[in-house]
């Protein structure tokens, strides 16, 4: 899951960015409105966390232009503006959620998660694929009720595949949604991550849940009986 954080305070960039990354999202950060708009248009994000008081171009204008140009990405406004008018204007401009600073970190993470769920049209935080159950709120995977020990990045990969189960996802798509710009991407980073994940979730003697489609990518789906 890739998230864009548009925030001008360097300190909030650092802490919120770190929190989102720790929650196994890939995070891109923009420091002003223009940069934020440009990034939001050039990349397919799962969600955008947007401040309103931004240098160069304010958050509401960013949102307005995104919506005018047909971008459907879910946007959470994170701002110190707390009046009812501000909230109403934000939501009417096309925001999907509104959180006032100061905020509880857990709440921000939960709201971001809810936004992503909504963007994949899921109400339940649990996704069942074959014998694996992915709990997107606890950020865990379980096989037959027993939790599988996954690294944050492995979990992120599994969640991304699970949300798009049955769809073939290219290596580039997977890369974009799982890894930060900052991460140094080697050409086989996705392949090795898939390999590691397979080892942890596949059952012995049964075909793998993650199937390789040559020249196209990977797909997660329950194997044929």
């Amino acid at each position: 899951m890739r998230i864009l954080l548009v925030e001008d305070s360097p300190r909030l960039q650092r802490s919120v960015g770190a929190a989102l990354r720790k929650a196994s999202y890939a995070v891109d950060i923009a420091g002003d409105g223009e940069e934020g708009l440009w990034m939001a248009q050039s990349e397919d994000y799962d969600a955008i966390v947007l401040d309103l008081m931004l240098p160069k171009l304010d958050g509401l204008s960013v949102l307005e232009r995104l919506r005018q140009r047909g971008h459907q990405t879910h946007v959470l406004i994170l701002t110190a503006k707390d009046t009812v008018d501000d909230r109403v204007r934000g939501l009417q401009t096309g925001a999907d959620d509104y959180l006032v600073k100061p905020f509880a970190l857990e709440e921000l993470l939960a709201r971001v998660q809810a936004l992503i769920r909504r963007s994949h049209r899921q109400k339940s935080p649990r996704v069942q694929v074959g014998h694996v159950e992915v709990d997107t709120s606890a950020r865990t995977a379980a096989i037959a009720g027993e939790t599988v020990n996954l690294t944050p990045r492995e979990y992120a990969l599994l969640e991304y595949l699970a949300r798009h189960r049955g769809e073939v996802l290219s290596r580039t798509e997977i890369e974009r949604h799982i890894y930060d710009d900052a991460a140094d991407l080697m050409s086989n980073v996705v392949d090795s991550a898939i390999c590691a994940l397979r080892r942890k979730i596949d059952l012995r003697g049964r075909p793998s849940l993650i199937q390789t489609r040559r020249g196209m990518g990977y797909v997660l789906q329950a194997g044929e009986p």
Binding site: D8, S9, P10, R11, L12, R14, S15, V16, A18, A19, K22, D32, M53, L54, P55, D58, A80, K81, D82, K101, P102, F103, A104, L105, E106
Partner: protein, 483 residues
Amino acid sequence: MSIHKRLLCGLLVGLLMLFAVSGGLLYFYVRTVLTRQFDAALAAKAHAVCSLIKQSDGGVELDFSAESIPEFGPTGRFDFFQIWRENGTVLQRSPSLGRNDLPRRTDVGDGPAFGNILLADGRPGRSIELRVVPIADEDEREDGERSRAKAARAGARSVRVVVAQDRSDLHRTLALLLSAMLSAAAVMVLGTAAVVAFTVRRGLRPLGRVAREAATIDAKSLGFRFSTDAMPGELKPICLRLNDSLERLEAAFARERRFTADVAHELRTPIAELRCLAEVALKWQGDPETAAAYFQDAQEIAQQMETVVTTLLALARCQSGSLELSRQAVDLSDAVQEAWRGCKDRAASRNLAVSFDVAVPLVVETDRTMLLSVLGNLLSNAVEYASRGGAIVCRAESCGRGVRLTVTNDNDSLALDDLSHLFEAFWRKDPARTDSSHSGLGLTLAAAYADVLGAKIEATMPSPKALSITVDLPLAPQSAPVE
């Protein structure tokens, strides 16, 4: 005592007194007129009786017959006369008097004298008493008065005549008049009370309405204004003044609310930063390097908040007038250099060219700390908002009876309209610039301190790309004698 009661009492008492006096005067006038008419009729009767008294040989006699004047006859019940000789013996009584006497008065000279008497049967009467000198029979054809005078000169004997009449009718008429007037007065009193009460209540209604409306005004309804369209002329100026006061009060409240909201907003961002980084640090502990970075952030946030709070406190002290000045001779050149020290590094990092043009020596008597704060804020504002790589000029010169200090910096973002906001708390050209160490209070505090120091502070734009802030400092406190 309410205006309502005061008006009611005043009007009622005044009107009642007026009624009482005019009623009394009217009664006495009518009584006098009626009594005079009664007396005139009585005098005519007395004259008729007197004309019957004749001087005869050896005495006086009365030529009276009940047929000629029947009211004095034995059947008459209202008119009486009695005539006495000089020696006090009764010459004659009217037949209507029977054997009774009419009262005589002793203090009467030749008369005629009128008086109220009590008749023998207890009825009220009125009498006329006079002394008459009867004329002789032969003089009868002569003029009465002249012949009587002649008779008196001749030593003729005189008689005393009292004619009386029952005045029960007059008495009754007057009593009737009195009771009619009293009843009219009672009706008038009640009517007046009702009319006065109604009029006063009606007249004071607008006042009551204003009072009721005023009672509903509180801090939440300061937008209320009294409607002065249908207001009486006396209340209009009061309501206009009240409306003025309400307007000023509303503006002050709005300013206060805006300021409080601004303060809350200014503090909200650093608190959000602090809370977020603390929660991140708590949730994912373990990395000492990250933790150190978080502590660094926390310290910076605390300093930023401290600056805001300290500045707000200083502003509050300026506004409350509780600041105490310690005046001393301050050399401006030293002060400028000292204030500049705090901005030096930032100016270097922004690649600014700075020049000072301070006349030497230039000494003012003022509060050093406050002057340094004013200078520091002006310079740091110039450093922060000058265009990158631009120039700052700081000039101090003697100007009339004071010193003019000017800080000019290149600026490409401000417009002329912005100058009026420059000294407002938390005003920034770009509202998003909340991250810097600038609280948006520096120029506000500089203006407040300048005011306390008796200086005039003003922002101008000498050219469209430059901002100049001028402070006119008095050489010495204005109350002290200036050489």
